[in-house]
Symmetry: C2
Subunit: 343 residues, 2 copies
DNA sequence: AGCTTCTGCACAACCGGTTGTGCTTTTGTT
DNA sequence: AACAAAAGCACAACCGGTTGTGCAGAAGCT
């Protein structure tokens, strides 16, 4: 029979049980034996707590313990498979590790990233994971100032441990697989999407170029178009490249699924919906995109392994403070459906 | 020059400024005029706060104000466009409204939903939005007990205001559009995916049936297969339906994008990747799925309008407690690309 | 019976803010 | 010069927990 007007506190329970708040606290936390509370009283308190749907006020607990139990993550977006599975997996693992996970998405907006980090610090997160943030080092500075460790995911920083995909190797493998589709020929190829200011895009471009070098093919820098990630930027970049003639490349390396969205729609506009699409490669995976044409190869980032590495770092803050800033690179997975069907 | 060992508190600032904690608090909160703090002292405190990267401890604030500023949302998944845009839009709007949004995904697991709600209550969220939860009423009871108002999104409950799509009308429109692809004929049609225990699935089935009724076509209940949402459930349900003969329906109403994933892969297994796919309808939208075939029609739920309605409810808790439990239905949007290309 | 040891618990300080109250000093008025 | 009003701030209680300390009574020992 809860009085329902206010939340039940340990003081309420103490009064109901005819005991003190400290005792109730001990019982709730399961240290009643350590604190020599009689089993009888403990049972009584637990029963009352249950009857009243008592829930500890974690804010108060955090205040006195000086540990909030919260762990924060900043993510650029939820609306693609890569980041959404990161968020989803992170939450599950964080809960398993006894944390209360707080994930928030900041739409690749540096100011919002900073504001979100500040908010999280205000709410006393014990650690912040910066996923795909535009300036991980700035976030690191902000956090380290408040004594909150950070870890970078997806995009690396120079001041904290970073866990990222092996972008170079992934892009190299992808490009080689794409080139294999043109035996003996030199396809008209283009790399599109991403920002050449970010580490991942630069590494992927490096992998793209390396593949051509290995095949002994020339590659003009005009074919590298890091126009940004957004769908509309990718589509206008492609339209511009195609020009008035409407000639699209034979081979397209698209640097994210969100850019791919723009590319697909631009292709339809330029060549019509029924026309044969160019051979597509995409760094990142999506189940539907993988089936949109027979001629698409996708690179899947190994989110599980990345998260495993992340929670390894969290569980063993060994070199905390030691000058060693690690860069952990996780191999990617090539998803070449046509090749699978072929065998 | 921060001492960096510990977080700066208002007490630290007070000492540095040669004033009291209460005064610092007033300055930080901007009520220094109301509390007649001199501009000079206020500026000094603000300067110090800035120099030391001071951040208010929101837990402590929440404790004393008895208002946490946090608003929680439970979502089943992040990995589809519908829920991810809900999460993304919710966060943006919540921030605009001055809240600190906490979103968490519970993978359609009733126990996890309950546990997550409890955790959120512990952290003193001021309100909980239950999106697509399996048992909204149970969550409502839990929360109302702690005096925390809830609102249901996507799936309705009977005890709190619910904002959902007009599932019946959406399904009706979709099915009619699908049937229009078979002029003069009675296609072999199947409804697949979802749970017949949830309100949305039931309403969509009702809309599906209604369309056939309006066209004067018979519809056997054996063609309704609410086999669950998961991709593998949908694919085995389809395989089973197709039987040894491998005859797939001509018209498929798929009840969610996640089920569609399973359907697409099952179709490839049954008929081969190059075969003509059946005419597909899908309740929910995905940019890549929409382009996977010429013959797919998708229903897009109007997330923006739903969130607008949600924050309307939040801003005007008018009938708080009044027996009126509202059900707000938002129209859906039909995405028929082929029809658009046709005109 | 007297002393020690152990059991079982209450008490109070503290975590970092917020806010009502009231005291001192300055300013203004006549 | 005397007094009222206003300005400028300090103080302390409170929010709901946690935890170190200490005290009363029971139990054990001789």
């Amino acid at each position: 029979m809860p009085e329902s007007t206010k939340k039940t506190t340990i003081y309420d329970l103490a009064e109901l049980a005819g005991t003190s708040a400290g005792t109730v606290s001990a019982v709730i936390n399961g240290n009643w034996e350590k604190r020599r509370i009689s089993r009888k009283l403990a049972t009584k308190v637990l029963r009352l707590a249950d009857e009243h749907g008592f829930a500890l006020n974690m804010q108060a607990r955090a205040l006195s313990r000086e540990r909030s139990g919260m762990i924060g993550m900043i993510v650029p977006m939820y609306d693609n498979r890569y980041f959404s599975s990161i968020a989803q997996g992170f939450e599950a693992r964080a809960r398993d590790a006894g944390y209360f996970p707080i994930v928030t998405c900041t739409r690749r907006d540096p100011d919002l990233e900073l504001a979100a980090a500040r908010a999280m610090l205000g709410y006393q997160v014990e650690r912040l994971i910066c996923t795909g943030t535009t300036d991980p080092d700035r976030l690191h500075d902000l956090c380290s100032h408040a004594n909150v460790p950070t870890t970078n995911l997806d995009l690396p920083g120079t001041k904290a441990t970073s866990i990222i995909s092996d972008n170079f190797q992934g892009a190299l493998d992808l490009t080689l697989a794409l080139l294999d589709r043109f035996p003996g020929a030199e396809p008209d190829a283009v790399f599109i999407g991403g920002r050449d200011t970010d580490h991942n895009t630069r590494e992927r471009i490096r992998g793209f170029k390396e593949a051509f070098a290995r095949r002994g093919m020339p590659l003009d820098d005009a074919r590298i178009l890091p126009c940004g990630y957004a769908a509309d930027k990718a589509s206008s970049a492609l339209r511009e490249y195609a020009g008035a003639g409407g000639v699209v490349p034979e081979l397209l390396f698209v640097n994210s699924t969100i850019s791919l969205e723009g590319i697909i729609s631009a292709l339809e506009d330029i060549t019509g919906p029924a026309a044969k699409k160019p051979t597509l490669g995409c760094f990142d995976w999506d189940p539907f995109a993988a089936r949109i044409s027979q001629d698409i190869i996708m690179v899947r980032q190994d989110v599980d392994r990345m998260l495993e590495a992340l929670f390894d770092v969290i569980a063993h803050p060994a070199d905390e403070g030691a000058g060693t800033v690690q860069l952990i690179e996780v191999p990617t997975i090539l998803d070449d459906r046509a090749a699978r069907f072929g065998t």
